[in-house]
C-alpha cells in the first residue's frame, strides 16, 4: 500500500509547536506555519501549543487519515528528546514511521537567540529544509537486536553493590568487577552515616556478604575491565584479574597465614586505614572484606624482590596454610572474556588531594587530618580502636573542621561536592562524642537539603558545636599571644559576627571534596561515554535520562556521574538496574535503521573497506563489488562519505536527503 511506501508525490503535513512559551516567545509560530503552508508539497500546516501532548499526537494521526498525508514534519524540540514520540504517532496514524522528520527550533533556535525576527527566519529556513528533505524519505523497517541477558557491573562500591543485588534478585546473571581486593568502596571506610548516624558497617556488610554469596553474582575483585567490544545487547568485555598469589577457591579466610607471616609485627602502611594503621605483606583489607580471601603484596613480601619472585623466604605462611594449599606464588595475572548485553558503570570518585592546598598545612603539621582519616580514627575497628589519639600522642581539646576544601574554588574544583557539609557535621558530632572537645565548623554556606538533614544541623547547634561562616585563609603554628603557643592557629573572618578571629586548636580536619577518579578519561573511552567539563561521566539527559549514557545499554550509578550521598547513589543504582532490565526483559532493542548498503554501480575499488572501523565491509569476489554486513554496520556513514562512485547509500542520510536539506536551508525566501 502506497501510504506506507509513499510511491507517489509527497503530501506533507507540517506542525510547529509553541512548547508553551518556550518556542512561541522567541519564534512567531503562526508566521512559520503560514510560510510553510505555501511551500510545494505541503498539504496542511498547523501551529499547536504542545505537539508532544496526547492531543498533539492524535492531531497528527487524525490529519494523516483526513488529509491523506504521506509525510509529516514537526518543528519543536530536539530530536534526541521526542523524535521517537512523533515517529510512533506517525506509525499509529498508519504511515511508516520514517516518513517523518523533526526540526529543532527550541534548543537550537528559541532558547539561544535574542532577536525574534532572526529566530523566526532561522526556524523557517530549517523547516523549509525539512520539507524538502522529507519528500525523499523512504519506508524503512527497524532492525531488532537481541539482548544478551547477562549484565556487567563495574565498581563494587555501594552503588555497584546495590545495582548488582537488584539485578541478581530479579534472576539476572551479574558480573561484578572491583579494582580493590574487597568490595565496599568508600562507604566501607565510614564510621557512621548522616543524618541517621547508623553505623556504615552494620548496614553495608550484610549487603556485601549477600553479594559474595549470591548464586547469580560472579564477583571478581582485584580485577579491572581492560577492553569492551560490540554494541548494545552484545558486548564482549575483557577483564584483567590481578594475581593475589592466593587461590580464591582454596582459601577459606582462616587468616592463619597472616598470623604466621615471618613478619611478627605489621609493618606496612595500610591503605584501608588511610595509612594510619599497619599491615603485613599477606593481609586482608579489613575484617568484613568480601570476598573473605587474603592477598599477598609482592612489593613487600620477602618471597619477592620488588614484585619478582625470588623464593628466598622461609614461607611460614605456606606451612600455616597446610593442607589447603591456597597460597600460590606462581600465580599470574589472567584475562577473562565475558559476553553481556548491558553494562552499569559505578566507578565512584576520589577524594580531593589536600596537598594541592598547602595553606592548610597538611603534611607540614602532624595534627592536620583529612576527613577520611578521621572516619578511620573514630571507627571502633580503626587503627586506634576508636580512640581519637593525635599523631603527636595527645587527645584534642579543641578541633577545627574546615569545609569546602577543594570545592567551590576556581583554582581546584569549581563544583560543590554536595556531601561535605553533612559529613563535616557528622564528624563534628562523632568527635564531640569521642573527645568532648570544643568544635568549630568553618563553612561558606551550609547545604543541608536532604531528608532529615536540616534537622541534623539543628541537633548539632543544640550540641553546642560552633558554626563560623567564613572560609579559612590559613592554618599556621605561630603564636601571636601565649594562649596560642603549641597550637594550630586558624585565622578566619567570622562573616556573620563581622570580626576577624584567630582560633587556636589542637586538631584540624579538612573536609575534602569529591572529584572524578584519576582514570575517568580512560574509563570513559573504554565504554564509549562522554565526560562533563568537570570530568564526571555525562548522563544522556540531565533530567529525563539521568542514568543513561549516549551509548545504548550502558548506564551510570553513583559518584562517577556526580558527587552524591549514599541514599542518592543507592536510588540511582536501582534506577540503572531497572533500565538494564527494561532491555533484558524486552529481549531485543529496536535500532535506528541508519545502516548503509551498496548499489550495483559499485566499481569494486575497495577504498571503503579499510575505512570501516567495524570491518562490516568485505569484497565479494563473485560480484566483484563491496558487501556491507548489516548486522555489523553501526551507521556512521564514513564509507558513504568517501565512496568515489557514490554507490553506497546510508538509510536516513541518503545523498538526496542531505543535499535537499542543504538547498533547503539556503534557498532564498
Amino acid at each position: 500500500m502506497d501510504k506506507v511506501n509513499g510511491n507517489h508525490e509527497a503530501r506533507i503535513g507540517f506542525y510547529v509547536c509553541h512548547c508553551g512559551h518556550n518556542i512561541a516567545a522567541m519564534v512567531d509560530c503562526t508566521e512559520v506555519a503560514k510560510y510553510v503552508g505555501q511551500l510545494p508539497g505541503v498539504v496542511l500546516s498547523r501551529d499547536y501549543k504542545y505537539m508532544c501532548s496526547d492531543p498533539g499526537q492524535e492531531l497528527i494521526q487524525k490529519d494523516i487519515k483526513e488529509f491523506d498525508l504521506n509525510r509529516v514534519v514537526v518543528a519543536s524540540c530536539s530530536p534526541l528528546l521526542h523524535e521517537h514520540t512523533f515517529r510512533s504517532a506517525v506509525e499509529a496514524g498508519g504511515l511508516n514511521p520514517f516518513f517523518f522528520h523533526m526540526v529543532n527550533i527550541r534548543e537550537h533556535v528559541s532558547w539561544v537567540h535574542t532577536n525574534r525576527d532572526e529566530a523566526t527566519a532561522k526556524a523557517k529556513a530549517l523547516a523549509r529544509a525539512a520539507i524538502r528533505r522529507v519528500a525523499h524519505h523512504r519506508a524503512l523497517d527497524v532492525k531488532k537486536v537481541p539482548i544478551h541477558p547477562d549484565v556487567l557491573v563495574v565498581g563494587g562500591g555501594i552503588a555497584g553493590i546495590h545495582a548488582a543485588l537488584t539485578l541478581a534478585k530479579a534472576g539476572k546473571k551479574v558480573y561484578l568487577v572491583e579494582r580493590e581486593p574487597s568490595i565496599g568502596g568508600h562507604m566501607a571506610k565510614f564510621d557512621k552515616t548522616f543524618p541517621t548516624l547508623d553505623c556504615a558497617a552494620c548496614i553495608l556488610t550484610p549487603k556485601m556478604s549477600e553479594v559474595g554469596a549470591h548464586e547469580n553474582i560472579t564477583l571478581w575483585s582485584y580485577s579491572e575491565v581492560v577492553k569492551m567490544d560490540g554494541y548494545v545487547g552484545n558486548y564482549t568485555v575483557t577483564v584483567k584479574r590481578r594475581p593475589r598469589y592466593i587461590n580464591e577457591d582454596l582459601c577459606t579466610g582462616c587468616q592463619e597465614c597472616i598470623a604466621n607471616c615471618v613478619y611478627r609485627e605489621p609493618k606496612f602502611p595500610d591503605d584501608f586505614n588511610e595509612g594510619l594503621g599497619k599491615r603485613k605483606p599477606v593481609y586482608i583489607p579489613f575484617p568484613q572484606a568480601t570476598p573473605q580471601v587474603v592477598l599477598i603484596d609482592p612489593e613487600v613480601c620477602l618471597n619477592f624482590k620488588r614484585g619478582v619472585l625470588t623464593d628466598k623466604c622461609k614461607k611460614t605462611c605456606v606451612e600455616a596454610c597446610g593442607e589447603k594449599k591456597a597460597i600460590d606464588f606462581q600465580q599470574k595475572e589472567e584475562f577473562q572474556e565475558i559476553k553481556v548485553g548491558t553494562i552499569i558503570v559505578a566507578t565512584g570518585f576520589q577524594a580531593f588531594d589536600v596537598a594541592r592546598m598547602p595553606q592548610y598545612g597538611y603534611g607540614r603539621y602532624p595534627n592536620v587530618y583529612t576527613a577520611l582519616e578521621v572516619e578511620r580514627l573514630v571507627n571502633a575497628s580503626g587503627p586506634t580502636a576508636g580512640d581519637v589519639l593525635l599523631r603527636d600522642g595527645r587527645h584534642p581539646k579543641s578541633i577545627g573542621i574546615i569545609h569546602c576544601v577543594g570545592s567551590r574554588d576556581k583554582k581546584t574544583n569549581r563544583w560543590c561536592s554536595r556531601v561535605c557539609c553533612m559529613y563535616s557535621m557528622k564528624l563534628a558530632h562523632l568527635l564531640k562524642e569521642h573527645t568532648e572537645a570544643e568544635i568549630y565548623n568553618f563553612y561558606i554556606d551550609i547545604r543541608a537539603p536532604g531528608k532529615g538533614y536540616e534537622e541534623f544541623y539543628d541537633k548539632l547547634l543544640e550540641e553546642g558545636v560552633h558554626f563560623i561562616r567564613g572560609r579559612v585563609g590559613e592554618v599556621t603554628d605561630w603564636a601571636f599571644i601565649p594562649e596560642e603557643e603549641g597550637k594550630l592557629v586558624i585565622r578566619v573572618e567570622d562573616t556573620l559576627a563581622n570580626v576577624v578571629r584567630r582560633i587556636p586548636v589542637d586538631m584540624v580536619v579538612l573536609s575534602t571534596g569529591l572529584e572524578p577518579q584519576p582514570d575517568a578519561q580512560a574509563v570513559r573511552r573504554l565504554f564509549n561515554m562522554s565526560c562533563g567539563s568537570e570530568g564526571f561521566f555525562l548522563e544522556r539527559h540531565p533530567k529525563l535520562a539521568p542514568v543513561n549514557t549516549f551509548t545504548d545499554g550502558i548506564y551510570l550509578a553513583g559518584c562517577c556521574q556526580s558527587p552524591k550521598d549514599i541514599p542518592d547513589s543507592v536510588a540511582q543504582a536501582g534506577a540503572a538496574a531497572a533500565e538494564a532490565m527494561v532491555l533484558i526483559d524486552k529481549g531485543h532493542i529496536e535500532q535506528e535503521p541508519n545502516t548503509a548498503y551498496v548499489l550495483d554501480d559499485c566499481s569494486g575499488c575497495k577504498s571503503c573497506i579499510p575505512l570501516c572501523p567495524y570491518t562490516a565491509i568485505t569484497f565479494n569476489e563473485g560480484t566483484k563489488k563491496a558487501d556491507i554486513n548489516e548486522a555489523l554496520c553501526k551507521g556512521c556513514g564514513t564509507c558513504v562519505g568517501s565512496c568515489p562512485s557514490g554507490s553506497i547509500v546510508q538509510n536516513l542520510f541518503e545523498d538526496e536527503e542531505v543535499f535537499s536539506e542543504i538547498q533547503g536551508v539556503l534557498a532564498n525566501d
Binding site: 530536539s78 530530536p79 534548543e107 539561544v112 532572526e118 532561522k122 572501523p613 562519505g641 568517501s642 542520510f653
Partner: protein, 165 residues
C-alpha cells in the same frame, strides 16, 4: 531583504558530540548569533566533500563542521576520516579563491555548549569582516559575461571557421 547583510553559515554537526553540545547550549540558555543552519549527521565521517561544496554553491558564506574530539568519536575514528578530507577541502577551496576562514572544523564534545556559542560567534565575526561570498551571484555574472560571446559565436559561425583556417 532590506536589512543589512549578515553571513549565512551551514553547520554540519555530528549526532553524538556537537549536536548534543548545541542542545546543551540551548538547555543552558546560552545566547549566540542566529546565523547558523544546522544539519545533523550521525558522524562527521559522513560529511561528503560535495556537501560542503554544495553549501557554498547554494550561497553559504561559511561552513562549520563539528565532530567529537580525537579519540572520542562514537564510531571510533570517523572524525579522523573527516579531518583528512577537511585538509584536502581547504586546499581545494583556496584554489577556488574561497578564503580558508570560510570553512571551519571544530572538535566539540557533548559537554561543551559554551564552545558552540564561542565558535559560532567568532565565526560570524570573521565572516562579517570578510563580507559576502555569494557564489550564486558570481555564477550569474559569469553567465552574463559568457552569453553575449556565446550569442556572437552562434551568430557568426563562418568567420569563426575562417579564423581557424
Amino acid at each position: 531583504m532590506t536589512k543589512e547583510w549578515t553571513p549565512r553559515i551551514v553547520a554540519f554537526f555530528c549526532n553524538w558530540c556537537t549536536y548534543t553540545a548545541a542542545d546543551l547550549a540551548g538547555v543552558s540558555r546560552m545566547k549566540y548569533a542566529a546565523n547558523t543552519r544546522t544539519i545533523r549527521v550521525m558522524c562527521s565521517g559522513r560529511i561528503d566533500p560535495q556537501f560542503v561544496l554544495e553549501a557554498f554553491a547554494k550561497g553559504a558564506d561559511g561552513v562549520l563542521i563539528g565532530g567529537c574530539h580525537p579519540n572520542d568519536c562514537h564510531y571510533a575514528e570517523g572524525n579522523y576520516k573527516m579531518l583528512r578530507r577537511f585538509r584536502l577541502l581547504k586546499r581545494m577551496l583556496k584554489d577556488l579563491g574561497i578564503a580558508e576562514e570560510r570553512l571551519r572544523l571544530e572538535w566539540i564534545s557533548a559537554a561543551e555548549g559554551e564552545k558552540v556559542k564561542a565558535v559560532v560567534n567568532e565565526m560570524v565575526r570573521k565572516l562579517t569582516a570578510l563580507g559576502p561570498l555569494d557564489v550564486p551571484g558570481k555564477f550569474a555574472d559569469w553567465d552574463r559575461e559568457i552569453s553575449p560571446l556565446a550569442a556572437a559565436a552562434a551568430a557568426a559561425p563562418v568567420e569563426h571557421e575562417v579564423a581557424h583556417a
